[in-house]
């Protein structure tokens, strides 16, 4: 491995060695951005549609002396699906649904199938994905690699808890089947293994039975962070979904105030007409917002709001509207409840040109309230308030690189500009310290700022060593890499 400039220069002194390696065609070069748009990279992008073509990319990588990063829907906020100057394997064309059993709710899909394709395929049979992320543009391969969660994480766990089995292509091209008994170690490490062990070529998942296309939803406001936590505490036992929206610009006594959305599945028989509510056409988000505003251009109108005063106005307005309206109960289609982020397509464009990052720490329930208050107040003190803050409840899981805790997570969106980049980096370091002191963890799907030493602290050296061992077994030549892998785990 060449690591120093000296060796690099020595290598260049022998042009023969350079000549042996094949050059990848420049036509494959594309600019690949992080989802939040705060980082761009240039990569050779390949989009295989078959397992054979997928395996060819690994051969090509070896011959061209490049490594390979996996990418699905590209919804990771940071650099988890970026691989600067190397190969990006975009798996979205491997998007077939391979098997579906409407009696058992077991489905086998290729990695490029999106959550939208999945739920639309199964809902009319009375099933719903057991774990749904806030956007439905994510692929199932990416969801498994990041081990994503939904608004029911304390109950349903991450997506990995519902994966029965998968086929994994290793960088050698060999495919192995992994489940809870066969290749058990790889099963628990590849889920949540951010694409470092291999490519999921098929995933078998258990879906969740539903008896209506609607959810019973309750929304109300909480006056501060203590009320917010109290609400979660009172309601987790008899709810299926809870999500809190915190007005992160509220200060002083009102730190942590915000809205809560809580939802429950309808029990069998509660919906008088399930065959209608389960119909696809009754799930869709309409094309217009408030009946008139085309959703596709909403981001344009959001753009001027994307500064502290604008967001203060929006957050306060949302809170006051909620308080004024009082507690509301209504029934809402699953898709509308879950995919709030899809309501306004391309809303991230409102953050251009600098983009946004998300910071989402996971903190045990004993320390969460204090830590989150400290975090919210520190962001305000540093003049970097976040614009959208989402609170969720979690439970621990058995996956090797787990981010989950018996506690809460708080996802915070930060606007990035050329001027504030450095300050955001410093703020993240300060926040990391609060999270680590509170016994917290981090989530690679959202991360842009984590440092190797912080990861080593929360994951533990033994876990990282175990993961490295498995990577060595599955990918001995270290062909699978991403910018995130090099940033957090590359050996110095």
């Amino acid at each position: 491995m060449k690591t120093t400039a000296l060796q690099t220069s020595a290598k260049n002194l022998s042009p023969k060695q350079t000549a042996q390696k094949i050059l990848l065609p420049a036509e494959r070069l594309e600019q690949v951005a992080s989802w939040g748009g705060a980082t761009q990279s240039v990569s050779y992008v390949y989009r295989p549609a078959t397992v054979e073509a997928l395996s060819d990319v690994f051969t090509l990588a070896r011959r061209s002396d490049r490594n390979v990063g996996l990418r699905g829907g590209g919804n990771s906020y940071g650099d988890a699906a970026l691989n600067s100057e190397n190969i990006i394997l975009d798996l979205r064309r491997m998007n077939r649904i391979l098997e579906w059993n409407p009696d058992s709710g077991v489905i086998r899909v290729e990695p490029g199938v999106t959550l939208a394709e999945l739920w639309q395929y199964i809902i009319e049979d009375g099933w719903w994905p057991p774990v749904a992320t806030g956007t439905s543009f994510t692929t199932m391969g990416g969801s498994a690699a990041m081990n994503v969660h939904g608004k029911n994480a304390w109950q349903a766990g991450p997506i990995g808890d519902h994966i029965l089995e998968f086929d994994l292509m290793m960088s050698s091209g060999e495919i192995i089947t992994c489940n809870r008994t066969e290749n058990r170690d790889v099963f628990y490490a590849a889920i949540g293994g951010f694409g470092m062990l291999g490519v999921f070529t098929s995933l078998t998942l258990q879906m969740k039975r539903i008896y209506s296309g609607l959810l019973d939803v309750e929304t109300c406001v909480q006056a501060d962070l203590d009320d917010m936590f109290a609400y979660f505490h009172e309601n987790v036992a008899h709810s299926n979904y809870i999500v809190g929206w915190i007005d992160s610009l509220a200060a002083g006594q009102t730190v942590g105030r915000g809205d809560v959305h809580r939802a429950n599945y309808l029990p069998e028989g509660a919906d008088p007409n399930p065959s209608q509510t389960l119909r696809l056409e009754n799930q869709h988000l309409g094309p217009n917002l408030f009946g008139v505003m085309p959703r596709s251009i909403m981001w344009l109108f959001m753009r001027p709001m994307m500064r502290d005063t604008g967001m203060r106005f929006v957050n306060r307005g949302k809170y006051l509207a909620g308080r004024f309206g009082g507690m509301k109960r209504y029934r809402q289609p699953h898709a509308q409840f879950h995919f709030l982020l899809d309501y306004i397509p391309d809303w991230k464009r409102a953050y251009q040109p600098g983009g946004l990052i998300q910071y989402q720490p996971f903190i045990p329930k004993e320390t969460a309230a204090d830590a989150f208050r400290e975090i919210l107040e520190l962001c305000q003190r540093r003049g970097l308030p976040n614009y959208l803050t989402v609170l969720k409840r979690h439970k621990p899981d058995e996956f090797l690189m787990s981010y989950a805790v018996d506690g809460f997570s708080m996802a915070m969106d930060f606007r990035v500009t050329t001027e504030n980049r450095r300050r955001v980096v410093w703020l993240a370091r300060e926040l990391d310290q609060i999270v680590i002191n509170a016994g917290g963890r981090f989530y690679f799907a959202k991360d842009s700022t984590l440092r190797p030493e912080t990861a080593a602290t929360y994951l533990g050296e033994a876990t990282i060593a175990r993961f490295r061992d498995l990577k060595q077994q599955c990918d001995p030549e270290n062909i699978l890499q991403t910018d995130l892998w090099r940033r957090i785990f590359a050996v110095a």
Binding site: K2, T8, N12, L13, L23, D65, S84, R486, R487
Partner: protein, 260 residues
């Protein structure tokens, strides 16, 4: 495998990356030093290994590690350029800026027609630039960003009795850079033509009369300022633009009687 680049990338702490061709001395070396001081990772390419190594050792980045990667390369080996460009960008972990400043100017007297010397000038000053900057153009067009700069010369403004082929090489470079600019500006890529007057470098030792001489470091500072401002054509120092105006406006009936 060896494709790990020596640098890691942090999403919010991007480190710009540059290639300087013709980096072992003069303006090229000064550009490398200044770019490194501005936080760039720089690939420094030149024929002379010892000078390159010295340059690398002079420039020490944060953490005591040099941010300069030296590559020994002769720009007349144009067939090596695609693979070397590929490797250099991989080693740097990307590319934001490329500056071509390799040039030779052997002494030529008023009555001399020496094809060997002429060919050497065209190969180094013009063909090498085309070989390298073509690669950058392909890449930057696809990446929809990037900056290209070529160090041309006021000598490219007219064909003079004293240096027919040197003038030709620089005039050719001017036209090539202008064409690149016209091709690439629609893709968000800026191309800057830098036209220095006299800089206190090795090239100058063959010049008969010199004036307004500036140091390589000063020339590098002005060059980088122009590149950062996405200027199209810049004279270094700026007063040469006036000289150029006069020289280019001068009717041939006068110009062909001058002995410079």
């Amino acid at each position: 495998m060896s494709s790990t680049n020596p640098f890691t990338t942090r999403p919010l702490e991007p480190q710009p990356r540059a290639i300087v061709i013709g980096a072992s001395s003069g303006l090229g070396a000064a550009l490398v030093r200044r770019l490194a001081a501005q936080g760039y990772r720089v690939a420094a390419l030149a024929r002379r290994e010892a000078e390159l190594a010295a340059l690398r050792d002079q420039v020490t980045g944060a953490g005591g590690r040099s941010t300069v990667l030296p590559y020994v390369h002769d720009v007349t080996d144009t067939e090596l350029v695609p693979s070397l460009f590929d490797q250099v960008t991989q080693d740097l972990g990307g590319l934001d800026l490329i500056i071509y400043c390799a040039a030779v100017q052997p002494p030529v007297d008023l009555h001399e027609y020496n094809f060997k010397k002429d060919q050497a000038m065209l190969r180094t000053n013009l063909l090498g630039a085309v070989a390298w900057l073509n690669q950058a153009a392909i890449r930057f067009e696809r990446a929809k960003s990037g900056r290209i700069a070529g160090i041309s010369s006021i000598a490219g403004d007219r064909g003079r009795v004293g240096s027919p082929v040197y003038n030709t090489s620089k005039a050719g470079l001017d036209a090539y850079l202008e064409a690149l600019r016209n091709r690439l500006s629609r893709h968000g890529v800026a191309v800057t033509t830098v036209k220095p007057g006299f800089i206190d470098t090795e090239l100058l030792k063959n010049a008969p009369r010199t004036f307004w001489v500036i140091s390589p470091d000063e020339a590098a500072a002005q060059t980088l300022a122009a590149i950062n401002a996405r200027k199209q054509v810049v004279y270094v120092p700026p007063r040469w633009r006036l000289v150029s105006l006069v020289v280019r406006a001068m009717p041939s009936v006068i110009f062909r009687r001058l002995n410079f």
